[in-house]
């Protein structure tokens, strides 16, 4: 029956094209929306990767994750430098990157860290931080900007910036005497790194030289060169990222940190905490799912209406077929073959459009949102979606088929056409 279906469809190229477009659109949309949903989730869960443990003062795991990785909220307490040194010297520990938070620059968090940060901090699928311009901080008063910071504030290399104490954006006392110089700007990552101003731990100490108990000591202030001569090793940091020599020791090391005697500390596995956090934003994910389903539904309704619209002009065709000996089953199969054909072509075009769109958008999405949207081979889930679309297409095609069958019987010999 396929050849008849094809010939008949060719005869009604316009309506058939409309039906194919309807299906192709919904297939492309549902695949794209679903891909964005999954990739956004993956990007989120991989905000930090390659880090085995995050250590901070004892609080909740989500809270520690929020302030250490997402730069949200603030730490309840600091971790003393002695503890950091102690942890770093542990046998299982490969590397340790200290994080010191608490200052800001025009609404963007300032992160004091070591140079190893740029070596060990990874995101996404173990991707390294890359410099769009310049290089990492070298001097006490050097700063490395996240891409978003540089873009929004229109900063360039060599620019002088002033850091404020505290984390608000206005009305806060600023460390005016110790301006920083932009030494590097990072490429976009789609992670909170983009919204961070990175300075060295010494830099954090340096801007607090003339401060005591959160208040500026009256007077001229110490000049930069004098500060450079001072001992700027920190007393405490906010958190630390730890990489282990072997992933197998992660639970032992976690317990070691959690039962640390000298200080109440907390170690979390970023992946686990990230999952916990994602559970909070599930609603967003579900909303996208609902949107996808409605898109699909709209496409199927469209297909039915196109098939039904074609049906009346085809009663004559049905009558001729039946007069030539076609049984209801033949006519039913003919129409099902037709909707199967329309669905199949629509799905193929939809998949092509999807890849085209993803291919075009991926570059922009990576740069703008840091979502890794690169085209991937269809997974099991995509194939299931396509199968579902196909089955629904055939199923809804059966509605007009059933009607056509009924009509061709009741029309009988009398051609009321």
């Amino acid at each position: 029956m396929f050849d008849i279906a094809i010939q008949s469809l060719r005869n009604r190229a316009l309506t058939a094209t409309l039906a194919v477009i309807a299906i192709a659109m919904s297939v492309a949309l549902i695949l794209s929306v679903d891909k964005i949903r999954r990739d956004a989730r993956a990007s989120f869960l991989q905000t930090v990767s390659g880090t085995d443990l995050i250590v901070g003062a004892r609080s909740g795991s989500v809270q520690l994750l929020l302030y250490s990785v997402f730069r949200m909220g603030s730490a309840t307490n600091n971790v003393s430098w002695e503890s950091i040194e102690d942890l770093k010297s542990r046998k299982a520990v490969d590397w340790l990157v200290p994080l010191s938070l608490g200052d800001s620059h025009r609404g963007y968090r300032v992160l004091g860290t070591s140079q190893e940060y740029f070596q060990y901090y990874k995101y996404g699928n173990k991707r390294d931080l890359e410099f769009a311009q310049g290089s990492m901080f070298d001097d006490v008063f050097d700063a490395v900007l996240g891409s978003e910071v540089a873009k929004q504030l229109q900063y360039s290399l060599g620019q002088s910036i002033v850091v404020a104490h505290g984390t608000g954006s206005v009305g806060i006392v600023e460390h005016e005497n110790q301006p920083f110089t932009v030494s590097g700007i990072l490429a976009p990552t789609g992670t909170p790194v983009d919204q961070t101003v990175h300075v060295s731990l010494e830099g954090i100490e340096a801007m607090h030289v003339d401060w005591q108990s959160g208040m500026q000591v009256p007077g001229e202030g110490t000049d930069a060169d004098t500060i450079r001569q001072m001992d700027l090793s920190p007393n405490a940091v906010t958190a630390a990222l730890i990489g282990l020599k072997s992933r197998g020791s992660v639970f032992r090391e976690q317990r070691a940190v959690n039962t640390y005697r000298q200080e109440p500390l907390l170690a979390i596995l970023p992946g686990v905490a990230m999952q916990e956090l994602w559970a909070l934003v599930r609603v967003f994910e579900n909303a996208l799912l609902v949107v996808s389903s409605f898109v699909l539904l709209a496409g199927l309704v469209n297909l039915v209406s196109v098939l039904f619209a074609g049906l009346n002009e085809r009663r004559r065709e049905m009558a001729i077929l039946r007069a030539s000996g076609a049984r209801p089953g033949h006519i039913f199969r003919l129409l099902c073959a037709e909707s199967a054909l329309l669905s199949a072509v629509g799905i193929c075009i939809g998949v092509l459009v999807h890849y085209l769109v993803v291919g075009l958008v991926s570059v922009w999405a990576q740069a703008r949102f840091g979502i890794d949207l690169s085209p991937t081979l269809p997974g099991m889930r995509d194939l299931l979606i396509l199968l579902l679309v196909f089955m629904s297409g055939v199923a809804v095609g059966c509605l007009p088929a059933w009607r056509a069958y009924r009509q061709s019987v009741s029309d009988g010999m009398a051609q009321r056409l």
Binding site: I320, L321, S324, A326, V409, Q415, L417
Partner: protein
Amino acid sequence: MAKADNIIDLDDVRFAYPAQQDLTLNIKHLSLAAGERVFLYGPSGSGKSTLLSVIAAILKPDAGSVQVNGTDVHALNGAASDQFRADNIGLVFQQFNLLPFMSVVDNVTLPCRFSSTRRDAVLSSASTLRAEAERLLTAMQLPEALFKSRKSIQLSVGQQQRVAVARALIGQPPLLIADEPTSSLDTQARVAFLELLFAELDRSQSGLLFVSHDESLKSLFDRSISLAEINHATA
């Protein structure tokens, strides 16, 4: 199936459309011998199409027996009656007989898709379905250029009707039913059409039930029946 002397035998057939009180058909007896050409005439509304639907096993009578080629079509279930029709009856309508998107030859061979009986009958005498279709079309005096062309939509009404006859006759079904096939043709074309039809019937030995309201044609047939006389349903 046993070959009966009569190709059609109707006895005490009554039929009323659902939701209608009056009978549309009430026929004591109607028969058509094998190979016989019968002209059935009557004004519109006299139940011609209904009678044809009953004979073609599309509609089921409320009472009575309908035998076509020795088979009680009344007793067949839906699919079996469709198969029976495909195997035994060629149908020609008043107009719009062809699938416009198919080639002329494909239109003619259409019944062979649905009936292996007729397909086998074609292949027992001709090498291919196409060859038989082209022979029939040539016999119907259609120029070769026309049926070689792809679409049947460019044909004139008279040509379409002749293609429809070729289709109804392919595979030599025992019965041909024609429902006003000439009503859209002019008088001269009607006679020419019938001559071609009869010549091919001589070859296939099929019986013909030809329905028309135009009584001027009835002299050309073996026998003519007035539906008004045999149908007692219409008061």
